[in-house]
Amino acid sequence: MKGIITLTVMNRPGVLNRITNLFSKRSYNIESITVGSSEQPDISRITVVVQVENDKELEQITKQLNKQIDIIKVMNITNQAIVARELALVKVTAATQTRSEIYSLIEPFRGSVVDISKDSLVIQITGEAEKIEAFIELLRPYGIKELTRTGTTAFLRGTQKTQGTAKNFSIV
C-alpha cells in the first residue's frame, strides 16, 4: 500500500540525510519526497510517499521519524481528507500535423504549454498523481522525449470529515 506522511522539520544541515537514512535502514521504499520552506522561517515541510506492506509498517515509520530530534511534527495523512498536488513537465514530440491534436488534450487537463520548439512542446501539468499518470498515458502515443515529476506535496484540508473508524489513534 501507499502511505503519505508529512513532516515539519527544523531547517538544519543533515535533516534530510537522517530521514532518508531511516527509510533505507528499514528497507522501506520512498516513492517520492518533496522538501520546501513553510510559513515559518527556519522550518521546512516535507511530504513523503512511501510503499509499505501494511498499517503496522507505516506506524513504525511514523514513530521512528517522531524520534528524530530535528523533526518537530509527523503526520500520517494517508487516510485523511487532504489536498495533494504534484507537478510534471513533459516534452512531447509535436510535428505540425499532430500539434493541434495535442493542444486539444491539454485543455481538459488544465495543463499549459511552457515551451515550443520546431518539433516538440513542453507541457506543464499539476494535480493529483492519478491525473498526471492519465495525462502521460494519453501523450505517450505521440512520443514522450523527456519527463520529470516533482513528487507529491500535500497537507490536510481545512475541514475533516468525521471518520467512523478511529484509525489514527496515538498511544503517546
Partner: protein
C-alpha cells in the same frame, strides 16, 4: 606555542576562543573525566584542555576511549565524554557509537574535523563524520559558528541523558575551535522536536492494575530501562506488593536482586529453563524497559502465546515493534512503577504459579560437570561470585564468557553489570572496566574477557598500569573464539573454520611487560588460591584461566526455535 586566543574584552562582550568556550561549557555540565586521544584537528581543543582542569584519560586507541566512556556512563548514569581527532580518530569510535546507541548508553563525543574552508576537498585526515555517524547516533551536530558551543553542548548533554539515553556526536572543524567569539553565558536550548514523555497515561496504569487482579500467572520482564531510570527499589516494592515473579533480560541483570525469592532468573537464548517457561506460560506479561530483542524472545510465533502483554517503555518506537501489545505504557519506568505502587490494586493470585516456577528451577537448574584436574569456566565464575559476594562490578565482552558470567555470577546489586548486549562487541570489556573503575574508585571491578576479545583491545593495559587501577582481569582462556566454535560444533558439523586460536602469546608475560602482576591457572585448587590472592591485592592483576575448550554454554534456544524448546536443559 602561545594560546591561540586568550580571553579578551571587546567593548562589553567577553571574547574567547571556541575551544575555551567549549571547555567552559563542559565544566558547566560538571564533566568529571574525558576519555580521548589527540591528533591534528583537535590540537586547539587539547591546547585548551591543557590547563582547563578537567581530568583526561589518554586511551591507547580511540575505541578504548569510547568503550571506557561507555563503562563510566553505565555505572554513573551520566554521559561519558570522548574526544577523538578527525578522519581515522573519528572512524575508530564508530563501533562504540553503535554499541552505545543500541544499548541506550549516554555519551557526548567530540570529533575534530578539517577546517570549514577545506571540508569536502578530501583534505588530510578528512572523513564525512556526520554522514558516517548519522545512523548510529541519537543526534549529531557540526559546529558552524564558535558562538554556538554553549548551546550545542547544553543540548547535547540534555539529549544524551534524557528520554531513552544515547550517544550524541559533535563534529568540530579546526577553525571553529580557534576563532574567537562572544561568550554566551546563558544559552537557550531550542529543541521543539524533542520532548520525551515521562509521565505515563493514568488510564493505561489503571488498566494494567485490573489485569493484574485477574491474572493467575503474571510475570515481570525487567530490562535495562529499570536500571537507567534507577527504579530498582520501586521494582522490588511493586513485585512484592503484587506478588509477581521477575525474570531479567541480559542487560537488566542487577535490577532485581538475584537472591530474592521472587527472582526466577535470566530469560532468553541462554536463560534458565524456568525463566523461559515462565515467558511461555504466563497469562500476563509486564515488560518494564526491555525491547523484546530476538535473543530474548526466540521465535516470535511462540513467544508468550498465552499472555496479555503490557509494555512500559520511554521509547514509543519499541512498543508493538516486535510483540503485539495490549497495554502500551509510554513513560519513565520509575514513574510508571510509582503510579502502580500507589494504585495498590488487588494482588494477583499467583501462589501456585510461583511455586511451579521454583519447582522448575529446582528440577532444571543451571548445571555443569566438574571433572578432576580440569578447569571448567562455570567454576571460575562461581568462584568469582564467592570471592566478591556478588557485589563486584563486572564488565564483559560478548560470547561464551559473557553468558557464563550472566548465568553464574548472581548480581545482587544494581549498576554493577557492564556488558555489550545489543551490538555484541568483542574488545568491550577491558576498556569498559577502566571507565567503571574511574566512576567508582572504591568498587571492586572485575573484567571478564575471552582470549579472543582480550586481544582486540589489550593495548588498554597501558592505561590500567599507568593509573594503577586495581582491576582484576579474568581471561576465560579456551584457545578459541568459544561461541563461534560452539555454533560450528552444533550447526556446522564440527567444521571449526578459523575459530581455534592455536598460537597465542603468554598473557602472563604480556601483563608483566606492562608491569601488571599475572598468574596462569590450570586447576581448581590454583583457581581458589590465586582468586583469593588477586582480590586481596589493591592493584591490577591478570588471571589467565586455562579452561576446557570443549565446554559449551547451555541451556540453549536454537535460532528459529521458541523459548519452550530449550536444549541441554
Amino acid at each position: 606555542m602561545q594560546k591561540t586566543a586568550l580571553a579578551e574584552r571587546k567593548g562589553d562582550a567577553l571574547m574567547k576562543s571556541g575551544a575555551d568556550i567549549l571547555m567552559d561549557s563542559l565544566k558547566k555540565e560538571s564533566v568529571e573525566v574525558i576519555f580521548g586521544y589527540p591528533g591534528g584537528a583537535v590540537l586547539p581543543i587539547y591546547d585548551s584542555l591543557y590547563d582547563a582542569g578537567i581530568p583526561h584519560i589518554l586511551a591507547r586507541h580511540e575505541q578504548g576511549a569510547i568503550h571506557a566512556a561507555e563503562g563510566y556512563a553505565r555505572i554513573t548514569g551520566k554521559p561519558g565524554v570522548v574526544i577523538a581527532t578527525s578522519g581515522p580518530g573519528a572512524t575508530n569510535i564508530v563501533t562504540g557509537l553503535a554499541d552505545a546507541l543500541i544499548d541506550s548508553i549516554p555519551l557526548v563525543v567530540l570529533t575534530g574535523q578539517v577546517a570549514t574552508g577545506v571540508i569536502g576537498t578530501d583534505a588530510f585526515q578528512e572523513a564525512d563524520v556526520l554522514g558516517i555517524t548519522t545512523p548510529i547516533t541519537k543526534h549529531n551536530y557540526q559546529v558552524r559558528n564558535p558562538k554556538d558551543f554553549p548551546r550545542i553542548i547544553k543540548e547535547a548533554f540534555y539529549i544524551a541523558s534524557s528520554g531513552r539515553p544515547g550517544p550524541v556526536l559533535i563534529d568540530v572543524p579546526k577553525d571553529m575551535a580557534v576563532l574567537a567569539a562572544e561568550v554566551d553565558e546563558d544559552p537557550v536550548v531550542n529543541l521543539p522536536g524533542y520532548q520525551p514523555k515521562l509521565t505515563p497515561n493514568y488510564l493505561q496504569i489503571k488498566k494494567l492494575g485490573e489485569e493484574i487482579a485477574k491474572a493467575k500467572r503474571p510475570l515481570i520482564l525487567a530490562g535495562a530501562g529499570v536500571l537507567i531510570s534507577k527504579a530498582h527499589e520501586e521494582l522490588k516494592t511493586f513485585a512484592e506488593q503484587q506478588h509477581i515473579p521477575v525474570v531479567h533480560t541480559l542487560l537488566g541483570l542487577g535490577g532485581f536482586p538475584a537472591n530474592h525469592p521472587l527472582f526466577i532468573g535470566m530469560a532468553g537464548m541462554h536463560g534458565v529453563y524456568a525463566a523461559n517457561m515462565a515467558l511461555s506460560k504466563c497469562d500476563l506479561l509486564i515488560n518494564i524497559g526491555a525491547r523484546f530483542d530476538d535473543r530474548l524472545t526466540g521465535n516470535l510465533n511462540h513467544f508468550a502465546p498465552l499472555a496479555a502483554v503490557a509494555h512500559i517503555d520511554i521509547d514509543p518506537v519499541e512498543i508493538g515493534k516486535n510483540v503485539p501489545t495490549q497495554i502500551p505504557i509510554v513513560g519513565d519506568a520509575k514513574e510508571a512503577l510509582e503510579m502502580l505502587i500507589e494504585q495498590n490494586s488487588e494482588k494477583a493470585e499467583s501462589e501456585e504459579w510461583i511455586k511451579q516456577l521454583h519447582d522448575w528451577n529446582k528440577e532444571f537448574p543451571l548445571k555443569y560437570e566438574r571433572v578432576e584436574d580440569r578447569l571448567k569456566p562455570q567454576y571460575v565464575l562461581e568462584l568469582l561470585h564467592q570471592e566478591t559476594k556478588g557485589e563486584a562490578v563486572i564488565t564483559t565482552d560478548v560470547g561464551q564468557h559473557q553468558m557464563w558470567a550472566a548465568q553464574y555470577y548472581g548480581f545482587n546489586k544494581p549498576h554493577a553489570w557492564v556488558t555489550s548486549g545489543g551490538l555484541g562487541t568483542m574488545g568491550f570489556g577491558l576498556p569498559a572496566a577502566i571507565g567503571a573503575q574511574l566512576a567508582k574508585p572504591d568498587a571492586v571491578v572485575a573484567s571478564i574477557v575471552g582470549d579472543g576479545g582480550f586481544q582486540m583491545t589489550l593495548q588498554e593495559l597501558g592505561v590500567i598500569a599507568e593509573l594503577g587501577l586495581p582491576i582484576k582481569i579474568i581471561i576465560i582462556n579456551n584457545h578459541a573464539l568459544g561461541m563461534v566454535r560452539q555454533w560450528q560444533q552444533t550447526f556446522y558439523n564440527e567444521r571449526y573454520s578459523h575459530s581455534l586460536l592455536h598460537s597465542q602469546p603468554s598473557f602472563v608475560k604480556l601483563a608483566e611487560a606492562y608491569g601488571i602482576r599475572a598468574f596462569e591457572i590450570h586447576t581448581e585448587q590454583e583457581a581458589k588460591e590465586k582468586m583469593k590472592e588477586a582480590f586481596a591485592l589493591n592493584e591490577p592483576v591478570l588471571l589467565d584461566f586455562r579452561v576446557e575448550q570443549g565446554e559449551n554454554v547451555y541451556p540453549m534456544v536454537a535460532p528459529g526455535k521458541g523459548l519452550h524448546e530449550m536444549e541441554g536443559v
